[in-house]
């Protein structure tokens, strides 16, 4: 879709008295400000969660216990997981949604700007509670981010209440964010912007938002049950009172599996935006991409028990969940072939966003394949709870979701800041990241296949060499992200003035407004031309 007007770029600042300083950010209802807040918050959480991972890797650098006690190690793995899932990846995508969706559909702002403000500003409280529990007598949650009962109930170290209330707040924030996105997309598209003309990032986040409102309440329910089991004597998961601890896993993974697609579908949207821009071709199959996204979202509701093959399910259950899980490879394959076919015979150029997107396609596919291996019930009995699982979900979440966030940031940063970033430094960030991330996660496959269990602070001697390499990769990957911080800060402060459309192959309404994007855009809706 294109627009034939540039009149949307006029400034409206004079209409409102802008509060300055901290109040501007506290009181803001502007989608761009809130998007910026989300993105900075998620980056800080990435560094916090990454810092915890650095301690984990330092402990695992050699066999034996050197740095931390096993109980503290468990607190590290638990909070690392929680912070990365709920603090880094999800808010980053919500940040993109806030910044880009109104600009992509030609809306002046999100539909519910005040709720938008609230859904961001409760997040710091949630994470203060979670991280603050490190400094309490009982310590932080130590039962794994999956908080399986009875670890989180009967055997809890006393941190369960803080954990539960933190998750409640995160859940409320995500649900409000999702409602806002859905209302915005349904009610505020510019005239002529039909559903099947929406940019793919809008589509993927639209579907993600539906997943969020469907499963975040289930998470809220299950943490509430954990809370009452721990403190109020109920027996949802306590066999002595007629409950069943395995039921916890069923309810948790009913939330947990759609959750993993919540963290990857927006990544598909970002990559589907960037690859056509730098291959200078239309996306190979727009509608197949939309339908593939919707099928993945629907299938995600009937595959949860593939996380639980070793709980003693009947054969029929194992077969059902195995086949349903493998079925997801079909729409995912549609997407991967779509990206490859878009690049095929395109006039490709390799700017930083494209580099990250190509890395995404290759490395996410590796993560997808190891997921397919894990889906096979018989072999899952061997892989279950080993480093193979850790390798799998880090390939899809780090080289998948996180790389798409980098790609998206490098793609839209000129629009956000009005400056081009330092290409050399960004190249360094990319190449350091891509080498170190593979050194970090690839040997984990072999560790897992050789039988190294996850969530263990010590290991057998034969795993020592691989773990040393993994730790070195980890430290290098962690440090590389400081380059990213440097690129972004330099880009905000100075840099070559960015054109309104700095990428010649880019498409979409966001490139029709000035760079940096004015505080208010599309106060009058743009006209969408039929093509």
């Amino acid at each position: 879709m294109t627009t034939d007007t540039l009149e949307n770029t006029e400034h409206h600042e004079e209409h409102h008295a802008q509060p300055s300083g901290i109040k501007r950010w506290l009181y803001t209802t502007n989608h761009k400000d809130i998007g910026t807040l989300y993105l900075w918050f998620s980056f800080i959480m990435l560094l916090v969660g990454g810092g915890l991972a650095m301690i984990i890797r330092a402990e695992l650098f050699q066999p034996g216990l050197q740095i931390v006690e096993p109980d503290f190690f468990n607190q590290l793995t638990t909070t690392h997981g929680l912070i990365m899932v709920f603090g880094a990846i999800m808010p980053a995508f919500t940040g993109f949604a806030n910044w880009m969706i109104p600009m992509m559909i030609g809306a002046p702002d999100m539909a519910l700007p005040r709720m938008n403000n609230w859904s961001f500003w409760i997040l710091p409280f949630a994470f203060s509670i979670l991280i603050g529990s490190f400094f309490m007598e009982s310590g932080a949650p130590n039962f794994g981010w999956t908080f399986y009962a009875p670890l989180s109930t009967t055997y809890s170290n006393g941190s369960t209440a803080f954990f539960v209330f933190a998750v409640h707040i995160m859940g409320i924030s995500s649900i409000m964010g999702a409602i806002n996105v859905i209302v915005t997309i349904m009610n505020m598209r510019a005239p002529g912007m039909t559903y099947m003309k929406m940019p793919l990032f809008v589509w993927t986040f639209f579907i993600t938002a539906y997943l969020l409102i469907a499963v975040m309440p289930v998470l809220a329910g299950v943490v509430t049950m954990v809370l009452t089991d721990t403190y109020f004597g109920t027996s949802f998961f306590n066999a002595a009172g007629g409950g069943d601890p395995v039921m916890f896993q069923h309810i948790f993974w009913f939330f947990g599996h759609p959750e993993v697609y919540i963290m990857i579908l927006p990544a598909f949207g970002i990559v589907s935006t960037i690859i056509p821009a730098f291959a200078r071709k239309k996306l190979f199959g727009y509608s197949s991409m939309v339908y593939a996204t919707a099928s993945i979202a629907l299938l995600s509701f009937i595959v949860w028990a593939h996380h639980m093959f070793t709980t003693g399910m009947p054969l029929f259950g194992e077969l059902f969940f195995m086949y349903c899980t493998m079925l997801i490879a079909v729409p995912t394959g549609v997407k991967v072939f779509n990206w490859v076919a878009t690049m095929w015979r395109g006039s490709m150029s390799f700017e930083i966003p494209m580099l990250f997107s190509i890395a995404f396609v290759i490395l996410f596919t590796i993560g997808g394949f190891s997921g397919l291996m894990l889906a096979l019930t018989p072999v899952d009995f061997q892989y279950h709870d080993t480093y193979f699982v850790v390798a799998h979900f880090h390939y899809v979440l780090v080289t998948g979701s996180l790389f798409s966030i980098f790609a998206g940031t490098y793609y839209w940063l000129p629009k956000w800041t009005g400056h081009m970033y330092n290409q050399t430094l960004a190249q360094w960030h990319f190449w350091c990241s891509i080498i170190s991330v593979n050194l970090l996660f690839f040997p984990m496959h072999f560790l897992g296949l050789a039988g190294m269990p996850r969530r263990i602070p010590d290991y057998a001697l034969q795993f020592a060499d691989f773990n040393k390499w993994v730790s070195i990769g980890g430290f290098a990957f962690g440090l590389s992200q400081l380059l990213f911080l440097a690129v972004v800060i330099k880009c905000i402060r100075s840099g070559e003035k960015a054109a309104d459309k700095p990428w010649d192959g880019a498409e979409g309404l966001e490139w029709t407004v000035a760079s940096p994007a004015p505080y208010h855009t599309f106060s009058t809706p743009p006209a969408i031309k039929d093509e």
């Binding site: 409602i179 409102i213 004597g233």
Partner: protein, 183 residues
């Protein structure tokens, strides 16, 4: 389509519908609890056995098959009882009634009420393990140093799937004194 300018009313309608989904899904999370019980009851998925005595219905004894039934016991944390089966395993023909004894002794200095919760593995066999009489149907109050032998009378259903030749019956013993006191 959205060619008209969106009104606050249209936002409110959409938000209301979405809030309905949110509340509905929160309720669904809790509805999964009874649904899971019903589902497990039908399929025997979670290894739970009948929690009320069944009458023995003699469909004849299938002497062509022999099934090994193993007994194991666990003490849930902090219950200071000695609790063990008097025999580790027994061979039965499907349809045949057997009585086995379990031994329990309260080693604490005060009275404790215990409750044994049974579970059968493989879970699919739980529906075929029939208890005619079981100490697990009742609470077990024991004074300090009191000991008791407790009986379990059971039979294995003749319809037990052919591929199952060994059943394991596990009892986990819980201290429910506090719960009793708070009632």
């Amino acid at each position: 389509m959205t060619s008209d300018k969106p009104t606050p009313q249209s936002h409110t309608t959409t938000v209301k519908k979405l809030m309905f989904v949110v509340v509905g899904m929160f309720a669904f999370g809790f509805a999964l609890v009874p649904l899971y019980d019903v589902f497990c009851d039908i399929t025997g998925l979670n290894g739970k056995t009948n929690d009320e005595a069944v009458a023995y219905t003699a469909d004849g004894i299938d002497t062509s098959r022999t099934v090994t039934v193993q007994f194991i016991t666990h003490n849930a944390k902090q219950i200071p009882w000695k609790f063990k089966p008097l025999i580790q395993q027994i061979k039965v023909h499907p349809g045949e009634q057997k009585v086995v004894k379990f031994y329990a002794k309260n080693q604490a200095t005060q009275a404790i009420v215990g409750q044994a919760v049974p579970s059968v593995s493989p879970g699919i066999a739980a529906g075929y393990f029939q208890k005619i009489e079981c100490f697990c149907f009742e609470r077990q109050p024991l004074q300090a140093d009191e000991e008791v032998e407790m009986a379990l009378q059971f039979y294995v259903d003749v319809d037990l799937p052919k591929d199952i030749s060994t059943l394991t019956l596990s009892y986990t013993l819980y201290d429910i004194s506090e719960k009793i006191a708070s009632l």
